[in-house]
Each structure stands twice: as C-alpha cells, then as structure tokens.
Amino acid sequence: MDLRFTDEEIAFRSEVRNFLKENLPSSIREKLEDGRHPSKDDLVTWSRILNRKGWAVTHWPVEWGGTGWDPIRQMIFRDELQQAPAPEPLAFGVSMVGPVIYTFGSEEQKKRFLPRIANLDDWWCQGFSEPGAGSDLAGLKTTAKRDGEHWVINGQKTWTTLGQYADWIFVLARTDASVKKQEGISFILVDMKTPGITVRPIQTIDGGHEVNEVFFDDVRVPLENLVGEENKGWDYAKFLLGNERNGIARIGISKARLRKIRELAKLHTFGEKPLIESPRFRQKLAAVEVEVKALEMTQLRVISGERKREKGKPDPASSVLKIKGSEIQQATTELLMDVVGPYALPYEPEREDGTRWNEPSVGPDWAASIAPSYFNMRKVSIYGGSNEIQRSIIAKAILGL
C-alpha cells in the first residue's frame, strides 16, 4: 500500500496542467471562473483543441481515439480539466452514447459516429426522461414501430439538456408493449433534423435555458439506427447510466470553487472585516473541505478497485460518489451565497452566448452568477439517478437489504 501519487503520475499531472495553461482560450476560462456557461461555439472550439491533442475521448478504446491511460491518469486528467477550469468534453457524446456505440453498436455505426463525436462535429443529446418516466425510467411511453425500412417514433421526451444545439439524440423507445417493461425497450439514434421533431425550451429556476422538451410526431428513422438488438435497450441504458455516475463526483470543480470562495472571502468585507476572518464562516468552509478530501480519497479507492473489476461493470460504491459529490457541489454554492451576502439579490441574467447585458452590474462584478449557481445546483441531486435512488442502490446492491 502506497497512497502517494508516483513520480510518473505527478509528472503526468503537470503535463496536463501545462497543456491547459497554454491551450485553453482565456475567454472560456474566464466564463467558467465566473460561474457562467460556455456557449456552443466555446465547446466546439475547445473540443477540437483537445481532439487535435488526442485528448478528446481519453477513456475510449485506443482504436477509436482513446489514450490507453489507466484509471488514475483518467482521474488526474479530469481533475485538472475541472480545476483549470476548462469545459469537460460534452458528456452526451463522449461519455454516454460513444461508449454505447463502441460497446454494442455495429461496425458501420462505429465508423460513422465515433470520429464525429470525438471532434464534436455532431452534438448529441440524451432522450431518456419523459413526463411520466423519471426515476422509473423503464415506464417510458415513447414508441417506435417498424414500418418498412423505418422506425416510426411517437411520444415526448423531456429535460433534454442542451437539446437546442443538438444534431442527434439517442432515444429510448418502446418497441414491444406486450412484455415486462424493461424488456420491450430499444435504443435508437435519431437525427434531430428529421421531420416531426419539435424542441421547446424549458426555463430553469436560475433563469437559464439548458433543458428542453422534445416532441416526436411520426418521426421516421432508418432501421439501421437501432443500436445492438431490438428490445435490449434497457441493458444499454443501464450500462450508460453506470458510466454516468463515475464522472459525477466533480471533485475538481468543487476544489476550484473552494479556492474561489477563499479568494472572494478575503476580498469581500462585510462591515469591518473580510468574511474569511469570521470563525463561523471559516468553520463552515473547513467542514466542506474535509468532506472534499474524504471524497477525493473515496474516489481514488473506487478507481483503484476499478482496475480489478470486470470491464464495464460499475462499482455500486460509485453511488457514494454521486451522493457525496452532489451534496458537496451544492454546499460550495451555499458558501458562495454566504460570501456574496445581499448582492445575491439583483437578477442580471446571462445571454445564450454566456455574456451579460452591457449595463454595469449592481453589485461586485462577480456577484451576478452566484444566486443562479446556487439555484441551478439543486439539479445535481436530482439527475443522474436521484440521491434517493442512489441510496436504494446502496441498500440493495451493497448492503443486501
């Protein structure tokens, strides 16, 4: 047992850090530091920079552009991206549908889609949730019926993140209503330009537009866009959701936010002295830092365990990462609320491209995004399998209850 990073791992970390320092456009970094959102163009620009370096899809098989790094290096890479802070590669393509395609897809599909995902030539979105199917995802009602050379899709998806930019959507649809609900679902790739698809924005409580409703009205999709076998979609979805949980602790982001909190709490005075000198505040901050350190170690333990696990089988302990990671992300945004104090109040929304209105801000120039981040971060304990669902996973899969 040696819990220190090896010299090679430390050298690798500085290689990544230097690359980010030299190649991450400062306009993008500043947006993220400010708690604003990168635009579509920002993400495309950044993904292509990473892809040129060969780092866009680091965890994929080497033949499809992966790096062959071991899990610790993958973790270090992600940690550095998050702390830079740099945008992470668009998860819907890189972490969700990509792995499904290279694991279960046809050769044709691999050749057609994987390189375009790596270069963000195709923007993917996730069409799983429906108005009536959230945590009980297998209860979904959207249908796909065979008609000659096509599937005909009807129904509605919702909460579709960044669907407004999407070129493609991967959809879970019911292809057999006569069997157990998990056994009649298929995984289908759909071009968003297909006639019959309508996207409608949903505004979230922070004022932002990151989610959408997507309606399917007799949408005709070539049969070859089915992934794997018909009616096996639920297996692929479970595989995908297991992968999703792994990256979800977002420890690097929490560390970057803690750093920002310290910095701002030194600058910003309440009454006579900077907030950082308040023992009450310092202790709240310290308590979150302790949790972050513990989670970082937990993540390393899960990742080391991964080296010995059967490939593609997520560790149920990753539910711990989801629960704690989301709670910590939320706690950091609460600390920022403490820092900003009454200047949380003015509502100065961001535009779609991540810029703000030209008027001078009411409070300190960093204040406008703080309340929205706090509101927005309530999502992280809801999506990706809600924290209640994660508790049930731990109870069943680990404790055997």
Binding site: M1, D2, L3, R4, F5, T6, E9, I72, K255, L258, R259, K260, R262, E263, K266, P279, R282, Q283, L285, A286, A287, E289, V290, E291, V292, K293, A294, L295, E296, M297, T298, L300, R301, S304, G305, A317, V320, I323, K324, E388, Q390, R391, S392, I394, A395, K396, I398, L399, G400, L401
Partner: protein
Amino acid sequence: MDFDFSEEQQLLKDSVVRLLADRYDFESRKKHQAATEGWSLGVWRQFAEQGLLGITFAEEDGGFGGGPVETMIVMEAFGKALVIEPYLSAVVLCGGLLRNAGSDEQRRTLLPSIADGTKRLAFAHAERQAGHDLHDIAATARTEGDAFVLDGDKSLVLHGDTADAYIVSARSSGERRDRDGIGLFLVDAGAPGVSRRGYPTQDGMRAAEVSLTNVRVERMNVIGDPAGGFPMIERVAHEAIAALCAEAVGAMAEALDMTVDYLKQRKQFGTTIGSFQALQHRASDMFVALEQARSMALFATMMSSEPDAEERGKAISAAKVQIGRSGRFIGQQAVQLHGGIGMTMEYKLGHLFKRLAMIDTMFGDADHHLEAFADSDGFVGAL
C-alpha cells in the same frame, strides 16, 4: 498510488482477524474485562507472540520494522472486536515516543520488553486544565544536580492503573501554555512520590489519575531534550489519532454490519424491518459515512509519517473531524435501528456506540479539530 496491502500486510491482517475470532467474541470480552487487570494478560501474551506489540519497532529494537499501515491493520481489527487491552497506551503512545525520541540505549533496553509483553508503559500527559491542548502542561521538572525532580498531577492516563512505568511530560522551563520547555521523563510506577488512582472508563477500559510529588528522575531516564519534547509529543499524538481513526473505522464497520444483519432478521408488521425504505436509506447513509471515514483513516495513516508538522497536523485534524462526525452518526443510528435491544449493556452494539463516542473525545474532538483545521489555509489554499 496503490491501495492494496502487500503480502505480509495481508498475512498480518488475516492473523489478527483469526486471533480475535478465536479469543475475542463479545462473551470472551466480558470475561477479559472481569479479570484483575480489567483486561486479559493471556490475550496480551498472545499479542506478543504474534508480534503485534512490536510491529512498528525496528528489528534491532526487537520489532518487525512495520509502519503506520501495520498499525492501521491492527487497530481496525481491534475496533471491530472492541479490544480493551492497553495497546494504544503501551505500544502506540509509549512505544511511539521511545521509537521517535528515545536514545539508542533507551530503545535497546525498553522496546524489546514492550514487544515481548513483559513491560507495559503508560503515557502520563494530560492535565485537568488542558482541555484538548497538548501543550498545556503545568507539571514541573526542576533540576537537582544532574537529575530532575517532578511535581504535578496527571489525568486520564490510559491504562495508568496497571502500568509498570510512565512516560511523564513535565515542564523544565517556560509558562504553562508554552510549547517550549516541555520534557519527557521515564518514571517507574513504584518510584517514591508516585501515587495513582485507577478507575474504569465508559468504554470498558481502564485509566488512572497519577500524582507526582518530588519524584526524582536520573539523567539517563530523560527522553530526548528536556526542554524540547513538544514536537515529539505532537508527532506521537498524530500517530495515535491515526491509530484511533482506524480503530473507529473498525467499530463503525462492525456497527453497520450488525445493523444490516438485524434489519434482515427483525420482523415487525409482518415483514423484515429491512424492507422499510426509511430504514434502507438510513443504512445507506451510514454506509456513506463509513466510506468517508475509511477514506480519511487511510489519509491519516498516510500522513502520520509526514515530516512537515503543519501539513501533518492539517491532515490529522481533517481526519479526526470526519471520524468524529461519521462515528457519531453511525453509532447513534445503529442504536436507533436496533430499537430497545440497542440500549442494553448485555449486547455488543451499545458498546461500539460508546467506544466511538469516547474516541471522539480523545486527543481533541471533532469541533476542536474543525477549529484547528479552519485556522489553517486548508487543502486547496488560495490561488
């Protein structure tokens, strides 16, 4: 980065677990506790035979050359079984002080007899007024010719009622709360001027109040610099905290195991109570708390040998915070989920809860360490 035990470490773990399975079920523990010493000399001899008492001592000092990971393995197993023998006081604390600060002569003469179980030392350090502050020492050590003379009252001396000798901290110079001026002195339990009053502790162990009046200590029995002992005290306290973190993780894991078993067996409303989602989720929260604690116990183990005292102190404080919080949550919820049976003296569970509560109070509780950590620049620092 490698979380796996080496082959020897795995063997150590297996052998400790086996020994405790044979000798330390909860009924046996009650018998050990009823012995004259308040714990079992027989078990102590077995610990010696298996090499546990000298595990971290150098080979030339009669030990096995192990380190913090070995201590962690032993303590975690002890936590599960609720071992009441004086391992922390004799091996981790006094063995640690001698290992870190003893002269060649002191190590060669004392460590082998700790390792073979023939001599047990206790660390007479805490004082009534000190709270959680390690440097708050009023006991005095004045020079008299070439020797020192000690006066003062030492409190909560773990297993001090049966120790053969003490390592006493006392002030050779400076004010009561100065970090400088503290020395470490080896004092025989039977030396003139030493008196002690033993008593049981809440967690089934023993401790003593030890008074020193005009106790003469020869030069050869001073450990290290008689005015510069504090860094060693701090260092060994950090090692002891890391060991306690591991012990607490063992106790938490056992409490959770017992709780999960109980949830699967106990029936109410015509079904096992483990089928109730409220209780499933509580048990999951206990699991999360345990995993976080385990992570920090590992972190404390790794950092307990860090030479930079400030970095080490931060890590140890952070770990003690996590252990205190997780231990309280798991201990309380384990009792709650057992219902009435969790409240009984007869049943092991309540004793795990009590041990966890006492571990929190030792070497600074969660609030103390949170404050200490909050006063530092944290782990992430400013940009």
